[in-house]
């Protein structure tokens, strides 16, 4: 798909199972044809915890990550099992700024179905891969897409994450190729 080999680091923020991280790395390599690698873990910054909401502020974590040296990597995806938010929203599954260097995926809300039941491990991993690829898409300057099946479609709920595919639509595919050329 690409002509420019962008390297992506996948960094655990806290105690994240190796298998979960490897699934994300494999999907980045398989779906976006980029170079990807698991990086050493670090703890989420303490000031990111909002004690009133008992959630982690995604903006603060991303700013902390961007201040860190990931000099061998063009883009970095942080993975954590805490509940994430950005101030205006109740929660987010992941966060990345358009064209930025670092993005985040939270496994916290992916481990539950909309009806409250617990999904199989494979579903959680697939959801995490989708959110990671979606946020990486933003880091690569892809916009939200109106096509519901496209990986870049905005997902407000778990059912929408399940509904979207692991693939980009034909328009976003062309757009990504242009970005990586």
């Amino acid at each position: 798909m690409t002509s420019k080999k962008i390297s992506v680091g996948v960094v655990p923020l806290g105690d994240i199972p190796e298998f979960d991280l490897q699934v994300i790395v494999d999907h980045i390599i398989g779906c976006f044809k980029l170079v990807a690698q698991i990086l050493p873990r670090f703890e989420p910054p303490g000031n990111a915890l909002d004690e009133r909401r008992l959630q982690y502020n995604a903006g603060i974590i991303i700013e902390t990550m961007e201040a860190m040296q990931f000099s061998n990597y063009d883009k970095v995806i942080g993975v954590l099992d805490k509940d994430l938010f950005i101030p205006i929203f109740t929660h987010v599954f992941g966060e990345a700024r358009q064209g930025g260097k670092c993005g985040l995926v939270s496994l916290y809300r992916l481990a539950k179905n909309p009806d409250g039941s617990i999904p199989p491990e494979s579903s959680i991993n697939e959801r995490a891969a989708k959110v990671a690829l979606h946020e990486l898409g933003h880091l690569l300057d892809l916009l939200h897409c109106e096509r519901k099946k496209c990986l870049m479609h905005f997902s407000g709920g778990i059912d929408e994450v399940d509904e979207m595919s692991l693939d980009l639509c034909e328009y976003c595919t062309v757009y990504l190729q242009d970005k990586l050329r």
Binding site: G59, F85, I86, P87, I88, F89, T90, H91, V92, R97, Q98, H138, L143, H144, E146, F154, G156, G157, E160
Partner: protein, 447 residues
């Protein structure tokens, strides 16, 4: 939400501005932020942002005050209010003032997504509406009313003036002068232009049918009424009703319509339930209704109801200077329709068209040009192509002297040209000075 919009986030909290800024960036929208109402208004002066997210609680100018200013100065701007739980009452107030929606902070990401979907659909419909309205304006507005004579200029200047009010209008003019076109132009210029324009020729149908058409009827009230039917007075709903040949309606119908105009309610035939109606009435007549009022033929109270504003449409013989323009317009129209190429009229043919009195007015002229274009074998219309037009009978008898005949003929040409000396001199093929001398000699003066 494929349409990219221009969005401004107005909030005194930097963290909120930043969150929403990055969220909208992910959709490719043009995003701007403002930390106060004053800054937002300044930025609106320089760029027409389509959508504003406004926090209610802000120091200085609060969100409600800002919303009021936006709705008064930039009414097309869509405003979404963002508010905390404690200020629901303010949110309701904001909706009354004109906010399109409100979101309670913090909101679920898909709530914002849904609001944006709705706004996007609304914007799309609005732009389609504006395009179609513009297109409709272009095809209905003055396009078919042609003229540059002082008499028509007066009509043109009246149209936008009277269009702004809801007062009843009476158009007075001979048949074929274009009364319906003027009515349509008034409708197109009015605030009702996006609503129906319904034209009814009162002279073309018997009283019972006209009553049923206007007021509607219930099922089974007369033979053939197999189902209930709404009348045009109800169907026109907010638009303009054009009643042509109003002078032809019966005294009974005059009373019925008078009641509708006074009460703004109608009761369909066979019903007892009155229905409220809202329409602007434009009537037209070729009769002298004022004289008929004095003669007791037409109801005086009804006359004054329908005649709040009167516009007289001049007959073509009183604005003969418009004939060349009209001829050119109809030539273009019928060349397009018939795919024939006729773009010239000889001087003699134009003289003939100008000398003729056109009792059927513009409609008769249009029919004449259509017929001539259809039958023409060259791109130039000559007198031979207009042989079906009978030149005016001269008003002199065989007992007149040559001098008297000259006087009568000059007077007739002057009358036909609305006493325009230059035009009359052209028709007579003499110069203006000579014509002035002859007018002096024969004591011919504009009445």
């Amino acid at each position: 939400m494929d349409r990219k919009m221009s969005v401004m986030i107005v909030d005194d909290e930097a963290i909120v501005r930043e969150s929403l800024f990055h969220w909208f960036k992910k959709y490719g929208h043009l995003v701007e932020t403002a930390s106060s109402g004053f800054e937002a208004l300044e930025k609106l002066e320089t760029y027409p942002y389509q959508l504003l997210f406004v926090d209610i609680k802000m120091p200085g100018m609060d969100g409600i005050e800002l919303l009021e200013k936006i709705k008064s100065d930039f009414p097309d701007t869509i405003v979404i209010i963002i508010t905390a739980y404690g200020s629901i009452e303010s949110a309701v107030k904001a909706m009354r003032i004109g906010a399109s929606d409100y979101l309670l902070k913090p909101f679920k990401p898909d709530q914002l997504s849904l609001v944006m979907e709705r706004i996007s659909v609304q914007e799309k419909l609005m732009s389609q509406y504006n395009y179609l309205k513009g297109h409709l304006d272009k095809i209905t507005r003055f396009e078919n009313i042609i003229g540059q004579s002082p008499a028509m200029e007066k009509v043109f200047s009246l149209i936008p003036e009277v269009a702004q009010s809801d007062a009843s209008i009476l158009l007075v003019g001979e048949t074929g002068t274009g009364k319906e076109l003027v009515a349509k132009a008034i409708h197109a210029e009015s605030r009702r232009s996006h609503l129906p324009f319904i034209a009814i020729n009162c002279g073309a149908m018997p009283e019972s049918l006209l009553e049923s058409e206007l007021f509607g009827h219930q099922k089974g009230v007369f033979t053939g009424a197999t189902r209930a039917r709404k009348g045009f007075l109800e169907v026109v709903s907010g638009g303009t009703l054009f009643l042509d040949e109003i002078g032809e309606i019966s005294p009974k119908m005059q009373i019925n319509l008078l009641r509708v105009l006074e009460e703004k309610k109608i009761t369909s035939i066979g019903s007892r339930e009155p229905v409220e109606v809202d329409f602007r009435l434009i009537s037209a007549t070729r009769r002298d209704l004022k004289r008929e009022v004095t003669e007791g033929i037409f109801r005086e109270d009804f006359f004054y109801r329908i005649n709040v504003i009167m516009i007289e449409i001049p007959p073509l013989r009183k604005r003969k200077e418009d004939i060349p323009l009209l001829v050119e317009h109809f030539l273009k129209k019928y060349c397009q329709e018939t795919t024939k190429y006729v773009d010239h009229v000889t001087r003699d043919a134009m003289d003939l068209l100008r000398r003729y009195d056109w009792p059927g007015n513009v409609r008769e002229l249009e029919n004449a040009i259509e017929r001539a274009v259809v039958l023409s074998k060259s791109r130039t219309l000559g007198v031979e192509d207009l042989s079906f037009i009978r030149p005016p009978d001269l008003k002199f008898s065989k007992t007149l002297s040559l001098r008297e005949m000259e006087r009568v003929y000059i007077q007739q040409i002057l009358e036909e040209n609305n006493w325009n000396v230059t035009q009359s001199a052209n028709v007579l093929k003499i110069n203006r000075v000579t014509l002035h001398k002859m007018m002096k000699r024969y004591r011919l003066e504009r009445p």
